[in-house]
């Protein structure tokens, strides 16, 4: 088990190193300079700026400096906000994004489980059809479309929640829903399929032969068995939430990582772009490792084979 973990962590670091390298050289290929008012700048000014940001050094040296800095948690200096370290930019904004992401994940997964198991238990009835239609719509309607609609009809017209900005809990409700609907729909579909399979299995038939009630069967046997594989979806959900945050935070003017990322893209602020890319992939890799470990812990079948690994 320990050997397995060490191996995984090694591969994780290797992956991150390669991502950093590829991102770095990709950014070097980027056309144009990062200075927004380039036209007005004299060659003299550009030279000074280049020196300030270390852009006059050879590319390989820039690369080594970048890697060296990253080991100390230094992700360079933002072009957009002069003299602001990228790491500060990220750390000041990560709270909002993390809270929003976590809320959306919990909302999506919980409601998804309820809808999905409800559909599976009542399969081939109108309840099942309704749940299936809802999850197809949830999966198909792009989150940014939903966000705009929620913002307009719920916040602006009905006035139930703030239209935008970041403050107390009420500010998080609409963005959480917009962001969480994707995972919700996916969870509902996944749980439904999984539970229909489980409900058709021999051990459920044995549970019925024991005389257990419908509730007892679902609660003690079906739910547990169909929930365990859900852990494998946490990784893809993290991707969806990271991606979604880029547009949802923008629409609701939330000072988070996603909003910053889009801003950096439009201003060619590539130290920040690289920093956020590294943050996203580090977060993703860690989440995948954690879910693999958790999966091993909660599924008794894997627990044993994991020991032997």
């Amino acid at each position: 088990m320990r050997k397995y973990l060490l191996k995984r962590v090694f591969y994780m670091l290797l992956t991150l190193f390669l991502v950093a390298t590829i991102t770095f050289f990709l950014m070097k290929l980027m056309p144009g300079t990062p200075y927004s008012n380039q036209e007005k700048m004299t060659p003299q000014q550009i030279k000074i700026m280049n020196e300030q940001y270390g852009l006059n050094k050879p590319v390989w040296l820039q690369y080594l400096i970048y890697l060296g800095g990253m080991l100390h948690g230094d992700l360079g200096t933002s072009f957009q906000y002069s003299n602001q370290p990228v790491s500060y930019l990220i750390s000041s904004r990560i709270g909002a994004s993390a809270q929003l992401g976590l809320q959306a994940m919990i909302f999506g997964v919980l409601v998804g489980i309820i809808i999905g198991s409800f559909a599976a238990i009542n399969r081939n009835t109108w309840i099942d059809t309704l749940c299936t239609i809802l999850s197809i719509i949830g999966k198909s309607v792009p989150n940014f479309v939903l966000a705009v609609l929620l913002q307009f009809y719920i916040a602006l017209k009905l006035g139930w929640f703030p239209i935008a900005d970041w403050g107390g809990f009420s500010y998080t409700v609409l963005p959480t829903i917009a962001l969480g609907v994707g995972p919700l729909a996916e969870t509902a579909r996944f749980i439904r399929t999984g539970m229909v399979d489980v409900l058709n299995s021999d051990y459920i038939e044995l549970a019925r032969a024991k005389g257990l009630t419908k509730f007892g069967i679902v609660y003690h046997h079906a739910l547990r068995n169909s929930l365990i594989p859900l852990v494998t979806l946490i990784g893809p959900y993290t991707v969806a939430l990271m991606t979604g945050s880029m547009v949802i935070e923008n629409i609701f003017s939330i000072p988070g990582i996603g909003e910053q990322f889009v801003k950096s893209i439009t201003t060619n602020d590539y130290p920040t772009i690289m920093g956020v890319t590294m943050l996203f992939s580090a977060g993703l890799v860690v989440v995948i490792l954690l879910t693999d470990i958790v999966y091993g812990i909660i599924d008794p079948r894997i627990r044993l084979s994991g020991n032997g690994d």
Partner: protein, 341 residues
């Protein structure tokens, strides 16, 4: 039970062998794999309707190339700006040229002195361009992006998966690591990075999506190939000395076909979503070019006053996504023997 049953004596004549009944005959009609899948797809109403919606959208979007010329699509006509929908002979408010302005229905066409013969079935945008034409063109863009993503899925994804699964060992290990690296960055972020390097536009979007879209397919194909590799018929073909490409083409691809079809059906909505997403946040296709994402971005700005400018492209995009998702589900159920209960 024991009452005496009177029977004619010839009842007990032995049946001649030749008259043996054909017992092997199966009453249910026998179907080939594809026929069976087609029958199941037809039974799935949602998927079947979706199929026709998609066909219709493809016909309209690509057929429009003959009628909508690119020049008029991007040319602005300020005197026609922001007109609501007006469909001949439809007296419903909102579709008859009237727009709700501070609670009152106002005939925008009359107010702006538009000639009476002029109709815009879905209204116009802020530059006076026909929304209907732009939506149709935008749909075409979405479909092209989807088509190209599918193409890369089918070529790179399938080939990569088969090679990785078939070769196994070190080759497989390296190829899987590469996929792992690609998928350790959210694919939209990869697309964004690619877009920064390439010049924003249709080609770049397609190239960027192509680079990131095939990994899921490759993974699934690899897993299935690993299983198929140890099947008896593949072993038989190998021991008979068939070449690897021939085995792949004759034995693997047909058996992988259902996975390929199903996975393709999930790549398509993802690709459509990516394009809309990128154009919506302003780094994909940009004005004056058009796509559903561009239209949504434009529409969102005026949503409070001219909601139709966002609603129409949003509806088209959602219908497109729902149709592909439903069809994907339908195909999965139709092809997956596991659901045959």
């Amino acid at each position: 039970m024991e009452e005496k049953i009177k029977l004619s004596p010839d009842s007990f004549e032995a049946l001649p062998k030749a008259e043996e009944l054909d017992n092997e005959k199966i009453a249910a009609p026998s179907l080939t794999f594809v026929q069976d899948a087609w029958r199941r797809l037809k039974m799935n109403k949602g998927a079947f309707v979706s199929l026709w919606i998609i066909v219709l959208m493809i016909v309209v979007a690509f057929g429009s190339s003959f009628f909508i010329d690119h020049a008029s699509l991007v040319k602005s006509a300020p005197n026609y700006a922001n007109l609501p929908a007006k469909i001949p002979g439809v007296p419903i408010n909102g579709l008859n040229g009237k727009l709700k302005v501070s609670g009152q229905w106002v005939d925008e066409y009359k107010q702006n002195n538009i000639p009476s013969g002029k109709y815009f079935v879905l209204g116009t945008d802020y530059l006076g361009r026909s929304l209907a034409e732009r939506i149709i063109y935008g749909t075409k863009v979405s479909l092209i992006v989807a088509l190209v993503a599918t193409f890369f899925d089918l070529t790179i994804g399938v080939a990569y998966g088969i090679i990785s699964g078939w070769k196994g060992g070190r080759v497989d290990n390296v190829m899987q690591r590469i996929i792992e690296i690609i998928s350790s960055v959210p694919s939209l972020v990869i697309v964004v990075l690619m877009l920064l390097v390439l010049k924003p536009g249709m080609t770049s979007i397609i190239a960027a999506i192509a680079i990131s879209s095939w990994t899921t397919m490759a993974r699934m194909i690899r897993a299935e190939t690993l299983q198929l590799k140890s099947q008896e018929y593949v072993l038989a073909a190998r021991s008979l000395g068939e070449s690897a490409p021939k085995i792949a083409w004759k034995h693997l691809v047909p058996n992988l076909s259902s996975i390929i079809i199903i996975q393709t059906m999930y790549t398509i909505p993802t690709a459509i979503f990516f394009e809309a997403f990128l154009s919506f946040i302003g780094i994909g296709i940009s004005a004056p070019e058009t796509s559903l994402g561009v239209l949504l971005n434009d529409g969102q700005k005026n949503f409070q006053f001219l909601p139709y400018q966002m609603w129409y492209p949003a509806i088209v995009l959602c219908v497109l996504m729902i149709a592909f998702n439903l069809l994907g589900d339908g195909l999965r159920d139709a092809f997956d023997p596991k659901t045959r209960r």
